[in-house]
Symmetry: D2
Subunit: 337 residues, 4 copies
């Protein structure tokens, strides 16, 4: 199931990359909240393809049509359905691949899981395109949270091994260069993204299996191409000693605070009131023009594969709003519990 | 809620570190499976405290009593309740700490969340002790999986910066030295653990929010002290190019396989049939003897804190069965879907 | 949330009676099953309005458009989204009623719940029209079940006090007369429907809160206008003695069976292999032309209300496929557990 | 699973009638609420067996021991585990019955479901005894609700065909006579119970599958022996006309109210602010001394069965606190949504 069933929200994403439409049904967004459609559209544009030489040539306006739950830009309280029509798919590019799973893609697992019945053209339901409806939900969640002074920002820490001095909202010139270099070689690069959530009070989250780290991690791994997540110091904490890694408590103008934020704002599954900070690893785009070895599941033969479709040499810049969306959905679902 | 609600399993852990008992209620374990109690006890002993100079002096036999669901060592199909009585707690050690949150612990968040009502002696429900009932569930799950030739092993990659040449089931002599050094300084160390799941066929897992990576990550973050998780190459993938990181498909004696396993056995949320491999970051034990700054939530004053209780200078060796348990529960819950 | 989250299925209905569209997202229908669109359309026609003098004059073709999850009439395994566009709404009929809750309708509760923000024209999300997407899911479920020799049939036991000698698939002439009589008086009638599920083996269902009776009852009460449900003898059992009401076990050609079926096929939440039989009470349509007292929530005044829209004098005949759909969804979700 | 997973509560009942203990784990009860243990014990005593000639001779003190989540009678916020030790079981009574399913019981379905592995002595997990832990949860929920002026009362409408003039908290003399008459014949009687929930404001509940009627019905059918439920007029509504059954809205001292309460306090799945009223059908106790026909699942032979254990000739009086508990759990789970 492509269903997030949270505390008070549910998000059900549907659609295939080359089907009629993709979309989302959202339950539980609070009645009376205004949806600023222009702002939402700008948010979605950050994720949309076809913006520059750095991303896929596929152009999709990605304008969601709201079929229910919102009237005169106000959330009514009943389920919201948003649909984005697919317009620029070229399935021809993929037809030959039905039985030739692409390295690094879900193709083979999906073939096994659904006995070959799923519509896998363009990656089908597993395509990064499915993050568009996620961003519809996340973009609205971000607007609602902003009214409660909760802000969520994802920034680039590195691309293809090029590390920014501090996390950036846009790729640096060296990063762009690295992306174009990979592109020119018919190859791709990945990167690391940091996300910060500010404005959530202490004591929010849950116990054990419902820890806030569990919820954020589960949502983040819904985004294709994510291969790791760490909170605060994360993996670096493993080489520190306790007295280095612990964050001492202090009063900051009567507000409980910690001197440092090595813990990334969450301890024992609950917020401490410090900014929530986590980083995620984005693998290099698996669709590459370079020839690769694969197999034909029908003929049982080894075959060569060169992926000619329109692909991003690096999805890191476009993934930022997806990370923010994932964080926003969890935050909105959790803040009042 | 400390409730895991999976596809066909649910696991509800209960108890406080210094309360009467801790335990677990398990729904959905298959009827007719035998529980090898000796083997379970050996598995639990790997997690139990008081085994060596490397761990806490608290000694708990950690023998689960099954109140329901198992008769003559056979699983009946109805809910299983296992209870472990607390015997060696010394709450005196903690009484003074009620209003002085320990750095690196859940104390402050829990105080805010439950308005100070939760029994937080010894860390209460947030104590690492609560992983004992998790291991009861996980140990049984491992036995059931082993009968289906699914094996799960967690190994130590590093402790306190000491990196093993290859992952080890026990700490190396240098690691032990590093732990004792930290202990002698009233400090603690963390480490990195790798876990491998072998024997799961291709196509297992779920879509988007129910991806297998989402499920494993959510379960892993239920274990206290975990601050990061990565699958396959994980964060290292972020610096590779696509042609390096992609795993090419080949036939291996008529079985679809990949030449390498950079993806860690999961693509698009579904298994590929390759071993599932993930690593987790364990932070240094936050309870240390060294004096730390904190606050008194009652008097609103800054105070000094030195934690005199019996604590592990390093929980990495004892966390291995917890990681295996988390993996086993998710695996058992997922393999038939 | 209008979300059914079952064992392996989820059903999320969305839409408002007078909005752009209504629809459903379905997760978990088995990959590879064929959807016979003609048969589905015939099934939906049984529920559709505007068929005869007995029902509302609103005419909606109710043709679902599948946006995802089905390709060439085959279920792929990813989420199915079906949309039915609203075409014949006349919101003018309802505009005046925004602050005047209709007796017997959800209007007042919804006003309180959503602070007046929900689009309640034509009953909004609470309209009986929302059973159309339920029937899309149920109609497909019925087709899948039929291939496993599981058949579900709902029949009319009574309408407006006119009791059939035995349950009927169509209203009897006396029932039709009773409906038209009520209609001519600007009034409405209800009835009782019996539903039978044949072909489910013994041992299916769940324990306590997940008993099969709990699941069927919960799903049935999702249908507007249902006010009661009973299994087997139901309320009549309350006046019997144990030896009358108990069903003795016998072998029927090596198959375990019961001599009678007073229990309605479910004991202790689990099937016995006998036909599952339950009856539901359908209240008289609350929308009537007769003048009624109500209030204006804005002016706080008492007002008179006569509902001029197009309404069914009796929804019992049209509710049959809805009951079958509810039963089919639960059956499909439960049979393999 | 014997798991109720609600909006903010979960209730997991465990145990078998003749096992070591029965109990419950509760998540989500609000921190800081006091549990009045004396009051809880009195509540449980209403359900406990062995009180009079009207009920089973099995005597169980049914004193819950709280293992976690409650300290000094205050709810802490972490999971509550309550255990009731089984003391007076006589499994000998049941040994012979392992392969001879008792008419009217879950025995056969459970045998099929769990391949004979479940501990079914005394009905096992399906025994009415398992309502004791339900009442622990419900009794506490009632106390919490009472502090918010929400009162829940179940009353007897009829027993064995003897109908009270108005619902009674205790059986009338005629009802007692009817019970003793059945008992003297080695037989049993059932009855009808009405439950009323007062004090819930308008707008509480949910949409479609999460309608308040769905939630109450699902919870009620978790109680063994319940065969029907109806809200307000229920089945009687089926014979009324709309203008009779509709409840007109009026202002009652500025509070919106309805002139009558035929709808039973819920419309479209949401409360109207009127008392919630529902009735349930309780079947005659299936365990009777009278000889009945059944089968031996092992030998495949027809056999005669006379149940010699200690059984209630009528469980209606003892089921009242169970009904109240079911209602209280749903109410507490729903009131703030």
């Amino acid at each position: 199931m492509s269903l997030y069933k949270g505390e008070r929200l549910s998000i059900n994403v549907f659609g295939e990359s080359h089907g009629k439409a993709i979309g989302v049904v959202i339950n539980g967004f609070p009645a009376g909240e205004v949806v600023n459609i222009d702002e939402l559209q700008k948010f979605l544009a950050r994720r949309a393809p076809g913006q520059s030489a750095l991303s896929t040539a596929r152009k999709e306006p990605d304008i969601p049509q709201f079929l229910s739950g919102i009237k005169d830009d106000i959330i009514g309280g009943t389920p919201i359905c948003a649909v984005i029509t697919n317009t620029d798919q070229r399935s021809r590019d993929y037809e030959a691949m039905r039985y030739t799973p692409r390295p690094g893609h879900a193709d083979f697992g999906a073939f096994e899981r659904f006995s070959g019945h799923a519509d896998m053209r363009g990656g089908g339901h597993f395509s990064g395109r499915l993050t568009a409806p996620l961003c519809v939900a996340g973009g609205i969640a971000k607007q609602i949270l902003a009214r409660q002074n909760i802000e969520i920002t994802a920034r680039i820490k590195s691309i293809g091994g090029v590390v920014a001095q501090k996390p950036q909202c846009e790729p640096t010139p060296q990063m762009k260069e690295r992306i174009l270099e990979a592109k020119s070689q018919g190859d791709s690069v990945g990167g690391i993204v940091e996300c910060e959530i500010n404005g959530i009070k202490a004591g929010v989250g849950g116990l054990m299996f419902e820890s806030l780290e569990s919820k954020i991690a589960a949502m983040i791994f819904a985004i294709p191409a994510i291969k790791g997540i760490e909170f605060g110091n994360g993996f670096a904490a493993a080489a520190l000693i306790g007295s280095e890694n612990n964050d001492e408590f202090v009063f900051n103008k009567e507000i409980v605070s910690t001197k440092t934020n090595n813990h990334g704002g969450i301890l024992g599954g609950l917020t401490t009131g410090m900014p929530i900070v986590f980083s995620v690893a984005v693998k290099p785009t698996p669709s590459i023009a370079k020839t690769q070895d694969t197999i034909n599941l029908d003929t049982k033969q080894a075959v060569k594969l060169s992926i000619d479709g329109r692909h991003d040499p690096c999805i890191v810049p476009r993934i930022l709003p997806c990370i923010e969306s994932a964080a926003a959905i969890v935050a909105l679902d959790t803040i009042d519990n």
